[in-house]
């Protein structure tokens, strides 16, 4: 219902928009609306109810959306510019100050690409769905558009709407196609996220009305307003709760293992691959970009929470006996690096946080897909009931091994470089005192030990050892089919590509991150009394070492 109304709204605006910006093709609006329109066509696809026709249609739509975003990146986006690009602006409800404003900068463009990419693969992963396939693919496609909108909109009220609307498909996907405890999980998910997103609305209204002029919720306007420090801190804490639920930040995480534990593989991929990234993106976009003074005060907290995330979730993951929940906790653990990166006040660290989001989007999606594929064969998620599966499913074993190694940050894959950037950025930046940095780095590095412990034990318990006779007597273990290999292959190409040459990805957003960090650093320097003197170094003190001097030019022979 809600979507329908919005959809028509947007449709009419689109036509307006195209007239308005005739010389500028509306790539982003198109990539938001195309899958949504496609979703509404799903009911009209002739299908006998087994989903055989619908899935092809959905795949076509998802792939086209991916193509649109890629074209947008190629033709409309210049990575070297830090400003908003591909911008479209249509006044929507001028009295309210509401505008349909979309655009992309370095923060959003990679995530938009990630969204359309993962969704296309999720549709392919949903190939075997035969229960209410039309509704299923309708929801997936609607979600595609909604999630691109979350990353692309440049207006805070619009952002709130997109954020909320995207919850409904997830809720339904969980509640209808989930596991045994699906109702509980779905309810928990919706209460958590909907409840916390009230903060977004409140803060959006507060920020929009701040200053007393006509309300305006566009990011550009908000970023020019001069909020007081107290106001910023209030807004910041509200937003931190809202986004902390999504990311998730311990102790706001408990919806995630339940939701992930009950979701089916394609939904799982979307949850891990994209939904968690909305939290990280929003933290960067609002907390770090729009509220820089408060960010300077809160950054140490973010970093401490990040370390708690890494260690706490790694330990819980280690103790988990349920495969899905294990991987779900490992996601939480990995998102800890995003928090540290965002709080690091260094270009390198923040860039690492961004890369970690993309990297985890790919790796998390691949692992969750494999969990689903394995469950289809073993019909159990309990590690105790598996064992020796590797002898029958050798290719599956190989895929699992590669993805687990990617997840434990093996060099040559994207996870390594992003974690390294976070580490190096945090340690070398002089924003915090040396003892604080040493302690945090040491604790975060403990995560480096814990991750292989739980991932490799998991592999050992599933695949190694003698075959579990009981499992074999009840199920037939068929090795991975080409579709599954293809999906993992598609995910591995960027994982390894970024791992081998990280600039493939980092170059696309570095300039935006640089601008963002510069703004934060200036705000930090302007603070008269930085909180927590123990932690924060007086920023004006000169950095010990001048920037790493690199050999002249790119190549040197001696």
């Amino acid at each position: 219902m809600q979507e329908l109304i919005l959809g028509t709204f947007l449709d009419s605006d689109l036509s307006l928009g195209t007239n308005h910006l005739s010389n500028n093709f509306p790539w982003l609006s198109l990539s938001i609306l195309f899958p949504i329109v496609g979703a509404f066509l799903v009911p009209f696809i002739p299908d006998k109810g087994e989903g055989k026709q619908v899935r092809w249609f959905a795949l076509g739509i998802a792939l086209t959306t991916f193509l649109i975003t890629v074209l947008a990146y190629i033709y409309g986006y210049d990575p070297s510019i830090d400003n908003l690009q591909l911008a479209e602006r249509v006044s929507w409800l001028p009295d309210l100050g509401l505008t349909w404003a979309v655009g992309a900068d370095g923060l959003s463009m990679p995530l938009i690409l990630l969204t359309s990419f993962i969704t296309a693969l999720a549709v392919l992963a949903a190939w075997p769905v035969s229960f209410k396939p039309k509704l299923f693919f309708f929801l997936i496609l609607a979600m595609d558009g909604g999630q691109i909108a979350v990353f692309a909109v440049q207006d805070m009220i619009l952002f709130f709407l997109a954020w909320e609307l995207e919850l409904i498909p997830v809720y339904l996907l969980l509640a209808i196609w989930g596991g045994k405890k699906r109702q509980y999980a779905a309810t928990k998910f919706i209460i958590y996220t909907a409840g916390s997103s009230l903060f977004i609305l409140i803060v959006a209204l507060a920020m929009g009305f701040f200053g007393g002029d006509t309300p305006n919720f566009e990011f550009i306007n908000l970023s020019q307003k001069n909020f007081g420090e107290g106001f910023q801190v209030l807004c910041y804490s509200g937003l931190l709760i809202a986004f902390g639920v999504k990311l998730p930040i311990v102790p706001l995480h408990t919806w995630l293992p339940d939701a992930h534990g009950e979701a089916t593989a394609p939904v799982h991929m979307l949850l891990a691959g994209i939904l968690l990234k909305m939290g990280g993106y929003a933290l960067l976009r609002f907390n770090a970009q729009l509220l820089p003074e408060a960010h300077a005060q809160f950054a140490p907290l973010l970093i401490i929470l990040g370390v708690v995330n890494i260690i706490y979730a790694a330990l819980t993951s280690f103790a988990q006996r349920n495969l899905k929940r294990k991987i779900a906790y490992s996601s939480i653990s990995h998102m800890g690096f995003v928090l540290i990166g965002i709080g690091s006040f260094s270009t390198l660290g923040t860039s690492g946080a961004m890369l970690q989001m993309i990297s985890h989007g790919l790796i998390g999606a691949s692992l969750f897909f494999l969990v689903g594929a394995t469950y289809d064969r073993t019909h159990t998620l309990q590690l105790d009931e598996m064992g020796g599966v590797g002898q029958k499913m050798r290719i599956m074993f190989a895929l699992w091994t590669v993805c687990s190694l990617a997840s434990l940050a093996l060099p040559g894959m994207s996870g390594f470089i992003s974690e390294l950037m976070v580490f190096a950025g945090f340690v070398t930046d002089e924003a915090f005192t040396l003892p604080f940095r040493i302690v945090i780095a040491a604790f975060a590095a403990i995560g480096v030990i814990l991750t292989p412990i739980y991932l490799l034990s998991m592999l050992r318990e599933i695949f190694f050892g003698k075959e579990n006779a009981q499992l074999l007597s009840t199920t037939k273990l068929i090795d991975a089919e080409p579709r599954e290999i293809y999906i993992i292959g598609c995910l591995l190409v960027p994982i390894i590509g970024i791992g081998l040459y990280p600039r493939l990805m980092t170059d696309s957003y570095t300039s935006s991150i640089e601008a963002l960090v510069k703004r934060d650093v200036i705000a930090m320097e302007s603070l008269k009394n930085p909180s927590a003197q123990l932690i924060r170094r007086n920023y004006l003190a000169p950095a010990i070492i001048p920037s790493p001097s690199l050999l002249n030019g790119t190549e040197k022979t001696n």
Binding site: E164, Y171, R394, F464, I545, P548
Partner: protein, 672 residues
């Protein structure tokens, strides 16, 4: 024509290409590729062979005095941070390149015979090529970070290869242990690298050492911090090169196929730690304290390995502890500030230890035909004996290896070990004493291995003993398995296995002559000034007593072994083991380090994780559920929830959310 060093980047890339091609083939056309054994082996062998030829060319150039070559490109950058990657060719690297490619090539030829009956033949070759590529990459790395990258990659290959026979529980645990223990070392290495980068703004070896001394002079980096960082970095080599107390993974890693034990866990990867310390020599030489700690750890490792090897009954485990002990010698040399001596021992040890391991593989291969594919039986020396008559080539090469490692001139081990002991004598006399004693132990346990395996009479057909051994290991014997494999006959291994053994015997005998203290060509290559200095200060008066003493103690060790295990004149069981039962038990239990490790870290971490999960489920989630129930689940809703009609309940919530959205949409409209 470009010089070999200019195209040296091909050395790691060639095997990688081979591995990627076969690896992709395995994933996409598993069955077909698995059948194409010969072509795969030929492709990978020629890739590695080409890399070897290039390496020799590079080494020849370096011998002829060519300058070192470094090529870099910007790999990652953010803000003012840039990270160059590339490759560097210098004498040290050239030596290692030739060493690794030679042994990898020989091991690959050997594997053709050893793995002939294994269904994972192609996978094994792919892993081998992948490992060779990573190891070669590690050698040519121009900076610490790139070393770290390949460091982890060789660790991964080790994980894959130790767990190669993944249906064996032991292999599964060993692979995981190897990776995790190495990660503990990498934890330190990573923090150390980050710390050094913070202090010096550089990752490359020269930049770090000069930057750090500058920073200390300026007072920007306190001395304790610099020391800590150096020691943290050393944690990496400690784990990789199996130094006490992080050596625990190496003996377990013997669960992998024997060619892997020879290549990775004796000759190359475990030596990477020593290599890294050699690379960091300009850094470590600034801190005598760090040198001393390295030397002490090396000595402890050296003694510990040799002492445990004294009582091992498993042929491969005996060799593994011997490797631990020899790696301790190399570290001792590094700690004494004598990287050339350490590197020289690395090279000689690589040849003879690879040969010994491949020899043990040949023995196991033969034993498997008699006792079946059960590692507990096939590797136990109590079931061997008298193999020399059946497998003469294996026996002779193994014997040469024993003499070489025992330090009898003029074989390789003598020159390198004696140089280390000489250096230790001048720097840390106390540590020399321990190293000297260990030399005697080494000679004893190596000849013990030789006599138990190759001399006496064959004990393999003793079914009672087999049953006993199986019972002792906790594995009940698998009756059906025995029925299927009728006892075969002992036989010499095929040419593909004996050829590498014979080839390796040549350097095991001769390579030591490259490093005679009066005219060390090895030192002249690595550090010409020091070589001249060495030759100048050399005096027979100093050399002969020390060398004589080492040879003497080795001879004592050999004599005891001859008396105890060949001539059976003294019963070591009665005269030593039963007289000091506590020491015997202490050694047989490997100093109880595995038990401590299991109790303290494995069980401890499991318990901690369980408790955290409890907290998560009961406290954190409990609060959530409680509030949820109290606020939303009160009254009728709760009843429906309890009776399972949750759809209805969910619908209410769903409607509520939509209502909220609409409500706020309306509320957002202020009445102005």
């Amino acid at each position: 024509m470009p010089s070999a060093a200019e195209i040296a980047w091909l050395i790691p890339v060639l095997p990688l290409l081979g591995a990627v091609i076969t690896g992709l083939g395995l994933i996409s056309f598993n069955r077909t590729i698995n059948r194409l054994r010969k072509p795969v082996a030929v492709i990978l062998l020629s890739c590695l062979g080409a890399a070897a030829v290039l390496s020799y060319a590079v080494l020849l150039e370096q011998l002829a005095g060519a300058p070192s070559v470094e090529h870099l490109f910007i790999w990652a950058s953010a803000g003012d941070f840039t990270l160059p990657m590339g490759y560097v060719i210098d004498p040290l690297g050239a030596v290692m390149l030739s060493l690794v490619t030679t042994i990898a090539l020989l091991v690959m030829v050997y594997s053709h015979g050893y793995m002939a009956h294994d269904k994972g033949y192609v996978r094994f070759f792919t892993y081998l090529a992948l490992f060779s590529s990573s190891m070669l990459g590690l050698i040519v790395s121009p900076n610490l970070l790139e070393i770290y990258v390949f460091w982890e990659l060789v660790g991964m290959c080790s994980y894959l290869l130790v767990g190669f026979w993944y249906d064996r529980e032991g292999a599964a645990h060993a692979a995981q242990k190897a990776f995790v223990v190495n990660r503990v070392g990498d934890f330190g290495l990573l923090l150390g690298i980050l710390g050094l980068f913070w202090a010096t703004g550089s990752f490359d070896f020269q930049g770090i050492s000069s930057g750090l001394s500058q920073a200390i002079d300026l007072g920007t980096v306190p001395n304790w911090a610099a020391l800590t960082m150096c020691l943290l970095v050393f944690m990496g080599p400690m784990a990789k090169s199996a130094q006490f107390p992080l050596h625990v993974w190496l003996p377990d890693a013997m669960e992998g196929p024997t060619p892997i034990s020879a290549l990775i866990h004796a000759a190359t990867m475990v030596a990477a730690g020593v290599f890294l310390v050699a690379r960091l020599e300009p850094l470590y030489s600034q801190f005598p304290l760090v040198g001393m700690i390295i030397a002490i750890i090396g000595t402890i490792t050296c003694f510990l390995g040799a002492s445990i090897a004294l009582t091992q009954m498993d042929l491969k485990k005996g060799l593994a502890y011997s490797t631990v002990s020899q790696l301790g010698y190399m570290m001792l040399a590094m700690g004494c500030g004598a990287p050339i001596a350490g590197m020289f021992h690395l090279v000689t040890h690589a040849f003879f230890k690879a040969m010994l391991f491949l020899g043990s593989g040949s023995v196991i291969h033969a034993m498997e035909d008699v006792v079946g594919h059960e590692p507990i039986l096939a590797q136990d020396m109590r079931l061997m004996g008298g193999l020399r008559k059946k497998m003469p080539i294996t026996a002779i090469t193994f014997f040469i290896g024993c003499i070489a490692i025992s330090g009898i001139p003029p074989l390789a081990g003598f020159w390198s070990k004696d140089e280390i002991l000489g250096q230790a004598f001048n720097t840390f006399p106390l540590l020399w004493g321990v190293g000297f004693l260990t030399a005697g132990m080494t000679a004893f346990y190596m000849f013990r291995l030789y006599f138990l395996t190759f001399e006496g009479s064959f004990r393999g057909e003793n079914k009672d003993l087999q049953e006993q051994l199986l019972l002792a290991s906790g594995n009940s014997s698998d009756e059906s398995d025995h029925a299927h494999s009728p006892p075969g006959v002992l036989h010499e291994s095929p040419w593909s296995m004996t050829l590498p053994l014979s080839i390796l015997a040549v350097p095991s005998v001769l390579i030591g002559l490259m490093g005679t203290p009066w005219n060390s060509r090895f030192a002249a290559l690595l550090n010409p000034e020091e070589a001249i200095e060495m030759a100048k200060t050399f005096s027979w008066g100093e050399f002969l007593p020390l060398a004589g003493a080492s040879v003497g103690i080795s001879s004592v060790g050999i004599s005891i072994a001859v008396l105890g295990y060949f001539l059976n004149r003294i019963d070591l069981d009665k005269s030593v083991a039963s007289r000091f039962p506590s020491i015997n038990k202490f050694l047989a239990n490997k100093w109880y380090l595995d038990d401590i490790n299991e109790k303290l870290f494995v069980q401890g971490s499991r318990k901690l994780a369980k408790e955290v999960l409890e907290v998560d489920a009961k406290v954190v989630d409990g609060v959530v559920n409680l509030t949820g129930l109290l606020t939303l689940g009160s009254g009728e809703g709760l009843k429906y929830f309890e009776t399972g009609r949750a759809q209805f309940y969910a619908l209410i919530v769903f409607g509520g959310v939509i209502a909220l959205v609409v409500l706020f949409g309306v509320l957002g409209n202020p009445p102005n």
